[in-house]
């Protein structure tokens, strides 16, 4: 059980692949992704059940070891968030080792 940082990112589902690549590149130790989420933000409503697939979100959860890693990850994804919208939250957590 060691202190860690939990990053939570919401982006359009179309961008899931690109986001995964950028997390890998930024050295994230791993990630979990939940697809087919909906939501509302400044860019309006996104329906999770849109068959055209153009307005669905996905949620990434990334557990990072420390602030340095968080910085790197956030830097890597900032341009993407800026261009396409979304949400990024960082919070404290404890990582249960096994």
């Amino acid at each position: 059980m060691k202190p860690c940082k939990r990053i939570e990112i919401v982006v359009e589902e179309h961008l899931a692949g690109r986001m995964a690549d950028q997390l890998d590149a930024a050295g994230a130790p791993g990630y979990t992704v939940i697809r087919r989420a909906g939501g509302r933000g400044v860019r309006g409503v996104r329906r999770a059940d849109d068959p055209t697939g153009t307005a669905t979100n996905c949620v990434f959860i990334v557990a990072c070891d420390d602030d340095a890693q968080v910085e790197k990850v956030v830097a890597a994804i900032r341009v993407m968030l800026k261009r396409s919208g979304g949400l990024c939250l960082v919070s404290d957590a404890h990582w249960i080792g096994y």
């Binding site: 179309h14 860019r43 055209t52 697939g53 153009t54 396409s84 919208g85």
Partner: protein
């Protein structure tokens, strides 16, 4: 003459489209589960592709077919250019580029519905039109991005994400629907009537029934978009103007497509399908590509234009109207 309109509006697929629209407007919780809806569209592409391929295997591939395909690609590449410069005056370069790509590309469901309409009124059409549809999906995406890169880039001073051309080409030329149509067509062409025998009970017989359920869903989706629109804050450009564009563009593009078809001496059915392809706008492949390559463009402009206005307009009014016009010219 207007019996064509009645034949169209009174057909089960169109009536189910209306049912979906109605369900959304009265806020019924009717829905086709998303994954199934996606599968129904996979089915439609698979079936129309296979049928087109089998038809191709049975008719000789001649110069006129090649010319037709060339014309189709030409249309798909030319439309975005004029649309871009037309819209540039009122919209940002990104939005103009995205809308021009949307209208240069095609809607497979509109095509499938037009083909079902032709079958129901007993007019023949050639399998190579399926190839034309596949060929017309991608060029507009590339042209749209190029237009933005050339004429729009300076606008936004900021450092942009580098454009990954490889990814863009893959997105545009190898997206799922293009790949499936082309692949199914190839397989239909290879296996011919022997293959058709094996899978006709799956691709031919239930086709109209499945189209009904798919259009029911499309009705729901299109109406949801209209509702979302009416709730949206007023944007940079008033909504009536956008709706106006979304009605005028298919008419102009239909005229372009129809003229090309008539110049090439296409048959009635083929001419209608090319016209419909030109008139239709993409609401799946292009928006997906635009979100990746041109996220600056506002999806709440191009998506509802294509999906909530142009798509129903073509389905309900466009198809029989274009048919009527072509018929009166060809003089059947």
């Amino acid at each position: 003459m207007d019996s064509l309109f009645l034949a169209n509006l009174g057909s089960p697929p169109l009536l189910f489209f209306f049912l979906g629209v109605a369900a959304a407007f009265v806020r019924s919780d009717l829905e086709i589960p998303t994954q199934v809806a996606k599968f129904l569209s996979v089915y439609l592409l698979f079936a129309i592709g296979f049928k087109g391929g089998v038809a191709l295997a049975e008719s000789p591939l001649d110069a006129s077919v090649g010319l037709g395909l060339l014309a189709a690609v030409g249309l798909a590449a030319a439309v975005p250019v004029y649309v871009f410069f037309l819209l540039r005056r009122r919209l940002s370069a990104a939005d103009a580029a995205a809308i021009s790509a949307t209208y240069g590309s095609v809607s497979a469901v509109t095509f499938v519905t037009a083909a079902a309409y032709l079958d129901s009124v007993g007019v023949a059409w050639g399998g190579h039109l399926v190839a034309a549809m596949a060929l017309m999906e991608s060029p507009a995406i590339i042209i749209g991005i190029l237009l933005y890169r050339v004429f729009g880039q300076r606008e936004s001073g900021e450092r942009a994400e580098a454009l990954d051309w490889g990814e863009l080409l893959r997105e545009s030329c190898l997206n799922g629907s293009v790949f499936l149509i082309v692949g199914s067509m190839l397989i239909g062409w290879i296996t011919g009537s022997r293959g058709m025998e094996q899978i006709a009970p799956f691709v031919v017989e239930p086709f109209i029934g499945i189209l009904c359920l798919f259009l029911l869903d499309m009705g729901l989706v299109a109406a949801h978009r209209i509702i979302d629109l009416s709730k949206a804050r007023e944007g940079v450009i008033p909504w009536p103007t956008l709706v106006g564009f979304a009605l005028v563009l298919p008419l102009v593009n239909a005229m372009l497509g129809g003229s090309v078809a008539l110049l090439l001496g296409m048959s009635e059915g083929d001419a209608l399908l090319l016209t419909v392809l030109a008139a239709s706008a993409s609401y799946i492949a292009v928006p997906a590509a635009m979100r990746l390559a041109l996220p600056e463009a506002n999806p709440s402009l191009y998506l509802p234009m294509a999906l909530a206005v142009t798509f129903p307009f073509n389905l309900l009014v466009g198809i029989p109207a274009y048919h009527l016009a072509l018929r009166s010219i060809i003089g059947n």
